[in-house]
Symmetry: C2
Subunit: 206 residues, 2 copies
């Protein structure tokens, strides 16, 4: 059975780190921001613009200074659909190349026919704020409530994006094989347990 693992995650839950460490443990590639880079390169977009429209609502405000260079409001809808299509294509190509971990971008839904192992990573607000603070730029000066609002906005975008371009509701347990609460935990120490669980799960289909 091929080892295709997708990670969906709440902002600040450590999902990206979990994906990267899981990929390292299995000795397989982890695709995250690389997907944005590929789309930007192949379709001639600005990376920030792709990053903004990907996992974002097409109705979200975006600064007109980014984009293809000639971006204007009229392009948003078309670009969003094109970027979603590009993501879909690239994610399928990556999964067909071989075993991998894919973080975000509704990969669980896009790859559903390949029956990947789908993980959702989440945590309580306290842990997410702490994780964000630990990784924040020194000059960042958000209050806890500002940070919470920011996190909720990003999760809302991920949820909206999923509802527009993929099946199933973001964060609903029905769409995942395992939901991991990382509250108060160091991601690194959980990895051997997740690896073992995935091995058990996959061995049964041999």
């Amino acid at each position: 059975m091929s080892k295709i693992i997708t990670i969906s995650r709440e902002f600040g839950s450590g999902g990206r780190e979990l994906g990267k460490r899981l990929a390292d443990a299995f000795g397989i590639p982890c695709y995250d921001h690389q997907i944005i880079d590929m789309i930007a390169e192949q379709y001639g977009y600005n990376k920030d613009y792709v990053s903004h429209l990907s996992e974002s609502s097409i109705t979200t405000f975006y600064p007109s200074t980014i984009g293809r260079g000639f971006a204007s409001t009229g392009f948003i809808m078309t670009d969003s659909v094109e970027i979603a299509g590009a993501e879909n294509k690239i994610i399928k190509e990556l999964a067909q190349k071989g075993d991998c971990v894919i973080v975000g971008r509704s990969a669980d839904s896009i790859l559903s026919e390949m029956k990947p192992f789908n993980i959702f990573v989440y945590a309580d607000n306290e842990s997410k704020i702490k994780r964000c603070r630990d990784r924040a730029d020194k000059n960042e000066n958000f209050t806890d409530s500002q940070m919470l609002r920011k996190m909720r906005e990003i999760d809302k975008r991920r949820s909206t994006y999923r509802s527009m371009f993929a099946d199933g509701k973001w964060g609903s347990k029905e769409n995942y094989n395992l939901l991991i609460n990382t509250s108060g935990k160091e991601i690194k120490s959980l990895i051997p347990g997740i690896v073992k669980y995935i091995e058990c799960w996959m061995n049964q289909d041999k």
Copy 2:
């Protein structure tokens, strides 16, 4: 760190089997129906009556032929509250005695101060129906839709019971440390992975 594990589960998801096997793997006791027996014994109730009122809404219809012998509609409210109180007390006593697995009965909420490891077990309808059929009495002759309705009724009772006597929403990921989708899987083969994950999770607190 004490090893107190609680299992909440959708009907037919294999949660009870998972709890039993997990307890065996750790060499600790698993409490499930024993809690009903203890309440019935200590409080002088009929076992079926306790089983019915436990994890059930107090407004649910129940046959008047069961109960304390002298049960009548007027007793339902009082009995439900008494049974919930007895469950609360017994579950706390069992957990204080030592490491254990407790299946159902909102133990995750009742024991929240002890910080147990809380698991929610669920599955898709197809798997749950199959599991129920495999274990059903030979004379049972439900159609799939009848079985689904029965499963939903039981889960609804569990959910209502939780909302009446415990904190947090039944099945909501916030209340659990790990949510396990058993769809299409044999419980037995997943156990080593769950054991390893719990060990990783608990070792971090040492």
